[in-house]
């Protein structure tokens, strides 16, 4: 039996949702206890209603606020995502046991 930890892996994606392979690789490896943070060009995925459906419901989804604002899409972000600032990004990295960057 695997020990159940509350905060396991923070998956950080920075490529736009056109890079389907990267999203597939990340999503396939999500387990309960993980979270996903979209940064840089990946924040566009948060505007895509169908995209959110690919992520399991039990996975918290975050976007990096600076990237959302720079791209002017804060109004178009799906409800599934919470926007976090740089300090919260660091806090997430502390909270989760490790991070994986998908690029």
């Amino acid at each position: 039996m695997m020990e159940l930890l509350e905060y396991e892996t923070l998956h950080i994606i920075n490529k736009n949702p056109g890079n389907t392979q990267i999203y597939a690789d990340c999503i396939q490896n999500l387990l309960e206890g993980d979270a996903v943070l979209l940064i840089e060009a990946a924040v566009y995925a948060s505007c895509d209603k169908t995209m959110a459906l690919y992520f399991p419901k039990y996975i918290p989804l975050y976007t990096l606020k600076a990237d959302v604002d720079a791209r002017g899409i804060s109004q178009r972000m799906s409800d599934e995502y919470s926007s976090i600032d740089d300090d919260e990004f660091v806090k997430l990295c502390c909270l989760y046991r490790k991070s994986i960057s998908w690029f």
């Binding site: 736009n16 056109g18 840089e40 060009a41 720079a70 002017g72």
Partner: protein, 119 residues
């Protein structure tokens, strides 16, 4: 020689330097009186929107250069209708006046060219 030239933009804003590099080619071609057209497809349609705030992430904004294209007599700017609607955008969201093309017309635009640069 034939040199009607098309520059294809396919990248989202701030994603890499390709859109800027492609735009610099456009300006150089224009200075050499090369008849050029610009085509924005895929995520590159987002590059044309009003609401980019590049300073938040300390990136260069090419909006001013895009707005100045008219001054260089670069007015053949084409945008994919399908990609605009994919992002819920229309002509009013864009910072330059563009010709909005259906997919079939994009293929014909490409066919008409003598040279194509597609970064």
């Amino acid at each position: 020689m034939h040199y009607n030239t098309l520059l294809i933009f396919r990248n989202g804003p701030f994603e890499n330097n390709k859109n800027r590099d492609c735009l610099d080619i456009a300006l150089a071609c224009s200075a050499f009186d090369i008849p050029i057209s610009l085509l924005f497809i895929g995520d590159a349609v987002l590059q044309l929107t009003r609401d980019l705030e590049s300073q938040i992430i300390a990136q260069k904004n090419i909006a001013n250069t895009l707005r100045a294209l008219e001054m260089y007599d670069i007015d053949k700017i084409y945008v994919s209708a399908a990609d605009l609607s994919r992002f819920n955008l229309d002509e009013s969201s864009l910072i330059v006046s563009c010709n909005i093309l259906e997919q079939a017309d994009i293929a014909l635009l490409i066919r008409r060219q003598d040279k194509v640069i597609n970064l």
